[in-house]
């Protein structure tokens, strides 16, 4: 679903500024102040930061609170509940009194959310999974944006054949349903990874899903960047710079880039939200993060077999995804409102 696509309204960083501007304040400072005043957006930002901090403290939780290794299957482990010793994998606990059922949520230090089918602590895995999901989500969004800025700038600045070529290439990637494109690339690379020149990425490396996701979303960022470059190019200050004999490099880096970067800043939180959702979907289809590594998507996948007996295995990572993506979407809206002068109209009437 084109979560990002629908929000890619062009941002005109040189448009009218809100009336409450003191003379001498740059547009960035104005936007920053506007964002700080937006309580909803700040709360969302705080929630996102909290989730990131929580996830990256996963090893602390596993070592010092739950005392467990969430990547080691422990089929014979026991834990203590209300002073009684209990098996983590209980025999015949299911509806048919057959097979093994992992322990449910204990709501205490270890096995807080219960165990998965291999006796691993779900709460600790959700935190570790968050680390992976966030790293891939943020990493791929940033890589994607960097590549997209280069493509978008080159296409918009040089125009002509270069623009035609890059834009058509973007059209082709754009034409693919994102999951199909990701599936195609992932199936080919999944069993043996990829080696290009000196760079070798193994099939189980987290770089693989990161790069796949980064590639498939390039057009979503490159298009608005190109659009912004096209409009900035026509401005008088660029003409003035050309008249002063500025080199292309100077034009690109000093005149145009600072004026189109706001497009990327507006898109970035929404991109991260989208890439996190994509990562979870690919991992759920088992073509994203590969075991033993865990991500929110793989944990939901693990939880599918236990859905009716131990639903928390699937519920918990899903809630984390919803909270993360929601906070990023709200934050993204706030940043857009702060940087996009047209939002003035929207807030006032």
């Amino acid at each position: 679903m084109a979560t990002v696509g629908s929000l890619e309204q062009p941002v005109d960083p040189l448009g009218d500024l809100p009336e409450a501007v003191t003379a001498g304040d740059g547009p960035w400072r104005v936007a920053g102040r506007k964002l700080l005043r937006n309580r909803t957006a700040m709360a969302a930002g705080a929630l996102f930061v909290a989730i990131v901090l929580l996830s990256f403290s996963a090893p602390l939780y596993a070592d010092h609170i739950a005392h467990t290794d969430p990547f080691q299957s422990s089929l014979t482990a026991t834990t203590v509940i209300n002073g009684k010793k209990v098996d983590v994998l209980q025999q015949g606990g299911g509806a048919l009194k057959l097979g093994e059922t992992p322990i449910g949520p204990t709501w205490q230090r270890n096995y807080f959310l219960g165990a998965d089918s291999q006796g691993r602590d779900v709460a600790a895995r959700v935190l570790y999974g968050g680390r992976t999901s966030l790293a891939i989500g943020i990493g791929s969004a940033v890589i994607c944006s960097l590549i997209a800025v280069v493509f978008g700038m080159v296409a918009g600045f040089y125009g002509g054949f270069t623009d035609g070529f890059i834009s058509r290439m973007m059209d082709v990637i754009w034409a693919f349903p994102v999951y199909l494109l990701a599936i195609s690339i992932a199936t080919v690379l999944l069993t043996q990874g990829i080696t290009v020149g000196p760079v070798a990425i193994s099939a189980s490396s987290l770089w693989l899903p990161t790069l796949i996701i980064a590639v498939i979303y390039i057009p979503y960022v490159a298009r608005p960047v190109r659009g912004a470059v096209l409009s900035v190019r026509e401005k008088e200050f660029v003409e003035a710079a050309i008249a002063q004999g500025a080199s292309n490099r100077r034009l690109i880096f000093q005149e145009i880039l600072p004026n189109v970067i706001s497009v990327v800043i507006v898109l970035l939180p929404l991109m991260i939200a989208t890439t996190i959702l994509t990562e979870s979907a690919l991992s759920y289809l088992s073509i994203g993060v590969q075991p033993p590594a865990a991500s929110w998507g793989t944990i939901i996948d693990d939880g599918q077999q236990l859905l009716y007996t131990r639903p928390w295995v699937a519920i918990a990572p899903g809630i984390m995804i919803v909270l993360t993506v929601l906070s990023l979407n709200v934050l993204g809206d706030g940043i857009r409102d702060a940087l996009d002068p047209r939002s003035k109209v929207r807030v006032k009437d």
Binding site: M1, A2, T3, S6, R168, M169, D171, V172, I173, A175, F176, P177, Y179, L180, L181, I183, S184, I185, T187, V188, L189, L190, T191, Q192, G193, I194, T195, V196, A273, L277, S280, A281, Y284, L285, S286, I287, G297, I300, G303, Q304, L307, Y308, P311, A314, I315, P317, G318, I321, V322, V325, L326, N329, V330, V345, R346, D349
Partner: protein
Amino acid sequence: MLAFVIRRMLATVVVLFAITVLVFVIFFHTPGVDPARKLAGRNPSPETIAAIKHQYGLDRPLPVQYVILMRKMFISRDLTSYSNQGQKVMPEILAATPVTLSLVFGAAVIWVAMALLMGVAAALLRGSVFDPILMVLALIGISMPVFWLGEMANLVTQSRYHDSFLFSWVPPLGYTPLTSDPAMWFKHLLIPWLVLSVGYIGLYARVLRADLLEVGSEDYIRTARAKGLTERRVLIRHSLRTSMITFISLFGLDFGVLVGGGALLVEVVFGLPGVGLLTYQSLTSLDLPVIMATVIYGAFFVVVANALVDITYAWLDPRVRTA
């Protein structure tokens, strides 16, 4: 208009060609990947690999390989699956298509109706508490992974509350064709329809609301108000009509993407044997010919849907034709 249609069609053909080339490159020429081995599925025998090499002309020049693949895909349509004992791929895809269409079509009806309702309601109730509440709901809908929502729906309707009067009608996961039992078809699909539509309802309601408010500051709206029309009439007869242009073009694209393979996750969660589930099963068995075919057919569908949307758009809004 005719000139626009012709230009758009030519562009479509170019994109379709580029897509086949891209798929060809991904599957046959990713560095360090042997396509014959990949096509042969898991643990192939050396004979199979040799046969595939010959069949796909992998020892011949690139353009020849490309032509052979395209011939297999579109002309002789005899792409066969190796993991699945020589099962022909095309009939499999054709058999799965009605399921995907049923799923996407029903969900589309729900999401368009609900999004119109929510978007218009939010715009009408601007300034009251309902507008932000509706928009937060929309945002939550957008932020939920659809496969997780599907699992939660299964948890509630298949297990936890299945015995309550609310969900006792829900049949076990699966699919019944419309032609054999319409009532059962409906029962099987209702929950998947709702789950698939949630994200789109949120997205479309937000887009529609923003659009309605933006259109609201146009001159002709002021004129309509000045004529003394009621707010409601201005909104529905004047604003909504203009906003529908964005809405419809967005709809065409998303519908195309969903039929083209985007409904995959929902099909997997609910065990609906559509094209998406077929792709997923081929993924688990690494059945490359099937994946290749579903990807190309999916992408084709999306590109053609895009072209149709553009042409409709140009028909609705003459300004686009010259662009």
